[in-house]
């Protein structure tokens, strides 16, 4: 018999027999037939399990049973399965879960379309005890930063056997997060990673399982943190991995080289308003909180101001920022993009932070976390998590869907985890607002800065498109937190031609591949105006 395309590997330990039969039935129902199935019994105490497996193996030569002599747990059992495979790709299936009938067919089609693919993952949902399907996880396209924040690729993962063996299979000591650890190591070396945007896997929820309760396996969280830290160390990233706010989530705390000069570019007209019951001059509050809450000392604050800015405001800025301050007058008609470009041209830092004047720094490591990811050469831009003064979410990355440039999660409570924790971890996004965004200096010049053809709105959307058009990732950083008192500094007006201009360049925004529908709900999402100070 020729080697099959797929080898399904399933470690088995004492599942309820009716559940195991359902799993077997879902494999036998595959419309694609070129597969083998390695079932590794990890010394199940219930004798019926092995009898059932042998029964199926006798009826179908594609099914093979490996019997372990001792109970070695999931890592050893899975590795025994990997040792036995003959197929070109390994598909990992748990003993109580279900594949959709077209699961292998869809993977085979993708393998044919992309012959160099090494890792494939697809969407999944959960199946309850009553057989009800729910909690559909529409995953983003390949997002390495997100994989460091959570094991999002999960089921169904299909890995080229050669690569799986090259990385040594599953690692001991990572029980409970062994799949996360494997995904991190495999994707580091994969030539191509493909996401299949279809549900091909039903994850069974049984009481006490990780599918039912993320707290069920606390040891898995510890192992997961270590797996991510290992990757950070392997890649030489300057970061420590911290536990996220919920089990299964991780945050990267970045370190910034003290010699790295960071230039903050802030446009202003010197407006003021009431915030939290206090009369505040926005730019003064912005610079004050930057100075007070930023550890990194190698800072330059470039303030580009229009002539109406009161002299007293400039005086206050000098007092607060001292020799870190660079004041640049702007006397031309209002054009946010040109103002920012001018500010950048007068800055000297290797890292640029574009900052509105109506912001206030909230988190202690906001700058390190925001700028740190730019050390990775394929990250072109980062954006922050912004809150309204009411503590609700203002910005959590853009989504380009349904013909609009959207702010998903706008108005959500500030402590909301979002769908599948996406408000609490760093992740790739189609775009971020320039109200607080960071770029490498060379990238800013490479993409031509902010387009001056869009003086007010959508210039940040255009910038994000340009950054991605050059092959860079954009990372939204959950731990870089600021308040954004949006629209208090300038009347919000969006002209039709502005959107038309953006669409003329980049096409109609739809089917965002990082923030897929229905994660963005029509009710909650609002159009991004890209409005600036």
């Amino acid at each position: 018999m020729a080697d099959p395309l797929f080898s399904i590997v399933t470690p088995v330990y004492n599942p309820p027999l009716d559940v195991l039969e359902d799993t077997v039935a879902s494999v036998l129902a595959q419309t694609f037939e070129d597969w083998e199935w390695i079932l590794v019994d990890d010394c199940s105490p219930e004798p019926g399990v092995l009898e059932l497996l042998h029964g199926y193996a006798e009826r179908d030569p594609r099914i093979r049973v490996v019997e372990r002599e001792t109970n070695g747990h999931i890592v050893k059992a899975s590795n025994d399965g990997i040792d036995a495979v003959r197929g070109q790709f390994v598909a990992l299936l748990d003993h109580d879960d279900l594949l959709t009938p077209d699961a292998l067919t869809r993977n085979a089609e993708m393998i044919e379309a992309y012959p160099d693919v090494d890792y494939l993952y697809s969407d999944e949902d959960k199946i309850g005890e009553d057989g009800r399907l729910y909690d559909v996880f529409l995953k983003p396209m390949w997002s390495p930063e997100r994989l460091r924040g959570q094991m999002y690729t999960s089921h169904l993962s299909v890995i080229r056997t050669e690569l799986l063996r090259e990385v040594g299979g599953f690692r001991e000591g990572y029980d409970g997060s062994q799949d996360h650890d494997l995904a991190l190591r495999v994707t580091e070396r994969a030539r191509r990673i493909v996401h299949i945007p279809e549900v091909l896997y039903h994850w069974r929820v049984v009481p006490g399982s990780a599918a039912a309760d993320a707290n069920a396996k606390p040891y898995a969280w510890v192992a997961g943190r270590q797996a991510v830290q290992d990757q950070v160390d392997r890649l030489g990233l300057a970061a420590e991995v911290d536990y996220g706010p919920h089990p299964g989530l991780y945050n990267l705390r970045r370190r910034l080289d003290p010699t790295m000069r960071v230039s903050l570019v802030i446009p202003t007209i010197g407006k003021s308003s009431l915030v939290w019951g206090l009369h505040q001059v926005f730019v003064v509050e912005a610079v004050r909180t930057v100075i007070e809450r930023t550890r990194h000392q190698n800072l330059e604050i470039v303030v580009v101001y229009d002539p109406p800015t009161p002299k007293s405001v400039l005086g206050e800025l000098r007092e607060i920022a001292g020799d870190k301050l660079v004041l640049v007058p702007f006397e031309a008609p209002f054009n946010y993009s040109r103002k920012m470009n001018l500010g950048v041209l007068h800055s000297t830092g290797e890292r640029l932070v574009l900052l509105n004047d109506d912001i206030s720094v909230r988190s202690a490591d906001w700058l390190e976390d925001l700028v740190g990811p730019l050390d990775e050469p394929d990250v072109g831009m980062t954006g922050a998590k912004l809150y309204f003064s009411s503590d609700t979410i203002q910005h959590a990355g853009h989504a380009y869907n349904r013909g609009h440039y959207l702010h998903p999660y706008i108005g959500e409570p500030g402590d909301s985890p979002g769908r599948f924790g996406e408000l609490m971890i760093n992740r790739e996004a189609s775009g971020v607002t320039a109200a607080c965004a960071a770029m490498r200096r060379d990238t800013y010049f490479q993409v031509g800065g902010l387009t001056e053809t869009l003086p007010l709105n959508f210039n940040d959307v255009d910038l994000c498109y340009k950054v991605r058009s050059q092959g860079y990732r954009i990372v939204w950083v959950a731990t870089s937190e600021l308040f954004h008192f949006e629209s208090r500094t300038r009347e919000r007006v969006v002209e039709a031609w502005e959107k038309d201009a953006a669409v003329a360049r980049w096409g109609r925004p739809f089917n965002d591949r990082y923030m897929r529908e229905p994660a963005v709900t029509a009710r909650k999402a609002r159009r991004s105006t890209g409005r600036k100070a």
Partner: protein, 135 residues
């Protein structure tokens, strides 16, 4: 944008009175005519540099924008081209169908005329005392 417009735009980029970091500490320290002249020259060169850098920046933006628009329009043109080809093929098929139908109609009309002109028809009409509509 004309070259005159560009010049106008660039003049906006040379604002008077940029205060670099530490400017306060340095003010009043420059003395002597020669130093002042040199300082002025440096300022002019710096302004020139900013102009040139701004030109590079905006040109790069235009290039990327135009490239993207070009790629997008090419895709649209290709899609429309495929639609034209498809519609053209459909038209050809319909024309062929039409020609076949016209030939059939012509043949049927000729046969009808032959029937109406036949002796059998005339005799039959006399015997049944009926009139052929339209004849």
């Amino acid at each position: 944008m004309s070259s005159q417009d560009v010049a106008q735009v660039n003049d906006d980029l040379v604002p008077a009175g940029i205060e670099p970091a530490g400017a306060n500490a340095q003010s009043g320290t420059q003395t002597g005519t020669q130093t002042e002249a040199l300082t002025r020259q440096v300022e002019l060169l710096q302004a020139e540099l900013v102009r040139a850098q701004h030109d590079v920046l905006t040109t790069r933006d235009h290039i990327i924008g135009l490239e993207s628009e070009n790629v997008r329009l090419q895709a649209v043109a290709e899609r429309l081209g495929r639609r034209v080809t498809m519609q053209h093929n459909r038209l050809q098929k319909l024309r062929t169908k039409l020609r076949v139908q016209e030939r059939r109609t012509h043949r049927a009309e000729r046969k009808l005329k032959e029937v109406l002109a036949s002796r059998a028809w005339r005799v039959g009409r006399v015997l049944t005392r009926t009139k052929t509509p339209g004849v």
